[in-house]
Symmetry: C2
Subunit: 326 residues, 2 copies
């Protein structure tokens, strides 16, 4: 039985979508037990739930680490505490990213030897059905070369465990493919990975090729990774808007849409970052899933699926062992 604790509050769309997501998820996964934390009266329609824990405070979306730690009675802090005290398998929240990541890191502690935790998300690629794991997409504002090397290791272990890839191709995100390209930390990390004969290390990759399907893992510092993530989201949204406009032009274009509906739907699904459910915080002593702040029921459902996958694959212990053997 996999035991997950859910923070039901703090998302843009309120607790209703979380309740809906939990209901569907429990229906589809009878090997999962869910504890939910939030305003009791908003969670009363839930059935088959392990436990409903009342929490009156909600962490504001923009809250930083200190503010979250002070809000001890918030649903977010209570969820993290319950996960820790009762040794549950995963915690999921769609509340303030900064607050959640900091509070989770401080409470659950890092895996011994990990210097910095990294936020990880799978991205779609040009190859249908293939994802690439990119980290760090925003847990840090800067990272040293040594930290980048640890991200490479965590990314490889994640890709192996979750996607069953025997030897994942691991790249450093850079401004050119050749050795010697990149910010100083990237150059240094390149040398370090070469020196340690890092399994699967394939050199630098430019941002334009990161999603072409060659890479299984792409490593970046948290600031650059975040820019990559959000630039991709921005362009995808901009182009989707233009496509919609093109189809709405006149009656003929509307008829045109009917003929390509299926292909367009496939594209939207591939490009939809919500279908990934959110990001995972790798490096802390426990499975921490940050769902999108704007999660709807489907998106939060996917985040729950990610949490289950992490727990099933025992990713925390794999990282522990990986670091010991490094």
């Amino acid at each position: 039985m996999i035991r997950i604790v859910v923070d039901a509050m703090g998302g843009d769309l309120g607790s209703t979508v979380i309740v809906d997501a939990v209901k569907s998820f429990l229906k589809d996964n009878n090997d999962v037990e869910i504890t939910i934390v939030g305003k009791k009266e908003e969670l009363s329609s839930l059935e088959n739930i392990a436990r409903v824990v009342d929490a009156r405070d909600i962490v504001p979306m923009q809250a930083g680490a200190l503010e979250v730690m002070r809000l001890k009675d918030s649903s977010m802090m209570k969820a993290i505490k319950i996960m820790k005290d009762e040794q549950l398998d995963a915690v999921v929240s769609c509340g303030s990213t900064g607050g959640f990541l900091s509070a989770a890191t401080i409470n659950l502690k890092m895996i011994p030897g990990v210097k910095r935790a990294a936020l990880v998300a799978p991205f779609p690629t040009q190859i249908k059905g293939k994802n690439v794991v990119i980290l760090d997409i925003g847990a840090n504002n800067e990272n040293s070369a040594e930290e980048l090397c640890q991200f490479a290791l965590m990314g490889r272990l994640y890709s192996k465990a979750v996607y069953n890839i025997e030897t994942p191709n691991v790249y450093l995100l850079s401004n050119g493919a050749e050795e010697g390209k990149g910010a100083p930390e990237v150059k240094e990390a390149y040398k370090m990975l070469e020196k340690m004969r890092f399994e699967g290390f394939s050199g630098n990759i430019e941002a334009r090729y990161a999603l072409n399907g060659d890479a299984d893992v792409v490593v970046a510092d948290g600031f650059t990774g975040n820019v990559f993530l959000k630039a991709s989201e921005g362009i995808a949204k901009m182009m989707s808007g233009m496509i919609k406009k093109a189809f709405k032009r006149n009656l003929w274009s509307k008829i045109g849409y009917l003929h390509v509906r299926k292909g367009m739907k496939e594209m939207s699904e591939t490009m939809d970052y919500k279908s990934t459910g959110g990001a995972m915080l790798l490096g802390v002593n426990g499975n921490v899933v940050k769902a999108h702040g704007s999660s709807d029921a489907r998106s939060f459902y996917c985040a729950l699926r990610v949490a289950k996958k992490l727990a099933e694959n025992d990713i925390v212990n794999k990282i522990k062992q990986g670091l010991e053997n490094a």
Copy 2:
């Protein structure tokens, strides 16, 4: 009369496309004089040209600064030298980016007071016809806060001069909109711009909103800016591929395409980075335009247009004056 010198060699598609571009450009612009440098026999079909300068060496695409400087008889080095010695108005090349930028900087020298040159390109935005100026998109591997502030100034002056925007909105590219977000240099630059009451400074902007039309200028260090540029290119290409696939699905989808052709064409044109012609190197003592390595005739034509615009607007002197008054 505006006098431009063109390096005809070193592009992926050879000198033929450059010759075609120069021919069309001269036909459309009778106030421009062009000197062209390259293998004489490949340039013989050009008419109305100010001068054809023979050069036997071609700078290889991957050449670094040192290699370029050594290739004194290369078309690239000769073009830069001619620009300098004869005080021409602009130089355009589609050869090795690193080599061209270094050679131009070393030969033409920086504008007094400029710490680092920055590569600038206009990006399309969600608002039809509106561009946003983003810099540095790749001249540097890292930048200090002070350098970011200079980029903000150069970007503002460029936006004013070329797009006639009275007070351009200038943003710092960051991982969050709030003050205090970002890599250490971004945080520091934020404080510095606030302190100096930088005209038009509007705070941080996330990569996903950089192209929504609010920003006139977006400032980033060269590494991050390059990741932004290439992530955008990558996603745009990936989505275009998916759209094409959707339309090629079957006979009906092909018919569907006929109905939306116009809208789709508009999108391709907006998203086509080739239509911007290339990037400009701001901060050096002269107008330096780097056309895409894969330039076709149309793209190189656009690069020539950019060179003309820079010269007409006397951007070098505007930056000189701007720095003196800062």
